[in-house]
Symmetry: C2
Subunit: 214 residues, 2 copies
Amino acid sequence: MSTAQDAEGAAEGGTGEAAAWGEVAPEAARRLLVAAVGAFAERGYHATTTRDIAGRAGMSPAALYIHYKTKEELLHRISRIGHDRALRILETAADGDGSAAERLADAVVTFVRWHAAHHTTARVVQYELDALGEEHRAEIVELRRRSDAAVRRIINDGVKAGEFDVPDVPGTTLAVLSLCIDVARWFNAEGRRTPDEVGALYADLVLRMVAAGS
Amino acid sequence: MSTAQDAEGAAEGGTGEAAAWGEVAPEAARRLLVAAVGAFAERGYHATTTRDIAGRAGMSPAALYIHYKTKEELLHRISRIGHDRALRILETAADGDGSAAERLADAVVTFVRWHAAHHTTARVVQYELDALGEEHRAEIVELRRRSDAAVRRIINDGVKAGEFDVPDVPGTTLAVLSLCIDVARWFNAEGRRTPDEVGALYADLVLRMVAAGS
DNA sequence: CGCCGCGCTAAGCGCTTGCTCAGTGCTGCG
DNA sequence: CGCAGCACTGAGCAAGCGCTTAGCGCGGCG
């Protein structure tokens, strides 16, 4: 059985922050992107200067503009890659072949673990949407719509199969995604919980929300 | 029986956005504060200029500095008032005299309804913490710690009374608060759901999370 | 060897930012 | 009426912003 964990595992070989961006080339562009993720996550997009990003990447401010047209394009690249990964996690789980409860638990465990393990990236991806330009934001919003659809599909399947008791499917879908996304806001790498622990806790809570196994 | 709804009701007479800031005087200072809430919620603190705020309040940029020392003080005032209100809602519910399930439902309904009805204010209050200065942030963090304690107290009471089945009380407390807070991010006044509907939906979901009545 | 092309830097342009200050008009008191 | 007090404005300062441009150093090719 293929699980959403496979999607997560296949997406990145290592566990470090930079290792997750292996697909970005050339190396200087990747360094700038990783620097931007760190700066955006720490201070927010608007409070981050191009000098800040270039400095973190060990380059002069002008070097940024050889690889990216604007500061906003950097944010768009980060947001696009992050949303692609998030969507793949959820669609892989939704397309799995277990019961609805198994697929929902798989989706939550993997989605939450990614938000916790990559909470700096996730914070930028989830909370800096408004800083994107009109067209870029529209593209990202479409990806989010598909993420919502994937989770709703699992819950709908569970209701039809009699596994779940969910009076308000769209509302519960929204709440589940909201709960998982907000992990990026509060998760602290120095805290007591590991990403795996948070994933397990949240999967349990979400299964209770849909009243699975009652 | 006194409920958290009383705390919410007593805090503000009307339903409009400006009516919620009745305690702020004089009138010009209140107008500036309401303008700042709108601008911060729409574009974020760092993307908002003092000219923006003054313009919305129908004043010149310099007028802002008669009532507030800095732009950051404006944010602090908003954050302080909002956190006070949120804390009062949760503590009133926690100190109520119903069962743990009733008090938890009361807390969630009222807390969520406030986040939905005042989602512009709540967005600033919940998502612009990092923009505060060192000392101001420490003051606000303490209020948030007390909010967490209020919710944890209700859940602990429910566990002791045998009403709830909660393996991880701190983790579940965190999840409940996170779920409610994130309402401020996605709630849209033009959307299909009213604050009351979201409050009722969320109270149901949270009671399921603590396995009340199983 | 000579020199082309590419990645990068130093310097800086035009503009906006948070914030200041001298001065203006209006309100209320004698 | 006269003037003091105060909320407020017009103009603008120093600093910092996103971004541009001229030119430098260096590796590869004829």
